[in-house]
């Protein structure tokens, strides 16, 4: 287990406060927590791919980063007017 894997595990711990906020906050708090979780997930996937030396798995965080922006905008736009 190298430093990258340890950092990935430590970053996963950071999802816990976001999960608490997601469950207990308002709906807009939940959106903010969702955005934080997706940013953390991108970093965790990068750290794991680097930690396990699997270059093929670097495509997953690239895709997730693109989808994070689109899905975040869709959520925000829907919550702005219609939900």
């Amino acid at each position: 287990m190298n430093a990258f894997v340890v950092a990935a595990i430590a970053m996963l711990v950071a999802i816990v406060p976001c999960g608490i906020l997601l469950l207990r906050g308002t709906i807009m708090d939940a959106v903010v927590a969702y955005e934080a979780i997706t940013a953390i997930a991108v970093m965790v996937l990068i750290l794991l791919a680097e930690g396990f030396r699997r270059s093929g798995e670097f495509e997953l965080p690239v895709l997730l980063a693109v989808l994070m922006f689109g899905s975040g905008l869709v959520f925000v736009r829907l919550l702005e007017r219609w939900l």
């Binding site: 950071a14 406060p17 955005e35 940013a39 990068i46 690239v62 905008l73 925000v76």
Partner: protein, 115 residues
């Protein structure tokens, strides 16, 4: 040896930043304050992570893909934060523009004020 120490220090800084930001997200009072804690999480920590991988791997394929993913996070993060704050404002006030006290609620204002 020095490279490993540098990578460890940079990764520790990134993890500490992410942990502190998420605790800040949880501790703040309202959503406007919480959005501020997205910035270090989505802007500074990915840059630190990219630097750590650059120090570790040099100019390998993994570094370029890492920077591509982190570039998306860094560039789109502020846009997403702005859209979130705008949505919160519209949900609370009906529109995102600041309404002056002198305007009546039904006053449409000048044509240039219309969205």
């Amino acid at each position: 040896m020095i490279r490993n120490v540098a990578v460890d220090v940079i990764l520790a800084a990134a993890v500490a930043l992410v942990l502190a930001s998420t605790v800040g997200l949880l501790a703040m009072r309202d959503t406007y304050q919480r959005v501020h804690y997205l910035t270090p999480l989505a802007l500074v920590a990915p840059l630190l992570l990219g630097v750590a991988i650059l120090v570790q791997s040099g100019s390998a394929v993994s570094s370029s893909l890492t920077w591509l993913a982190l570039l998306f996070v860094v560039v789109t993060g502020p846009f997403l934060s702005h859209a979130t704050i705008r949505a919160i404002r519209i949900r609370e006030a009906g529109e995102w523009r600041l309404r002056r006290d002198s305007e009546a609620p039904g006053d449409a204002g000048s044509p240039g004020d219309q969205p």
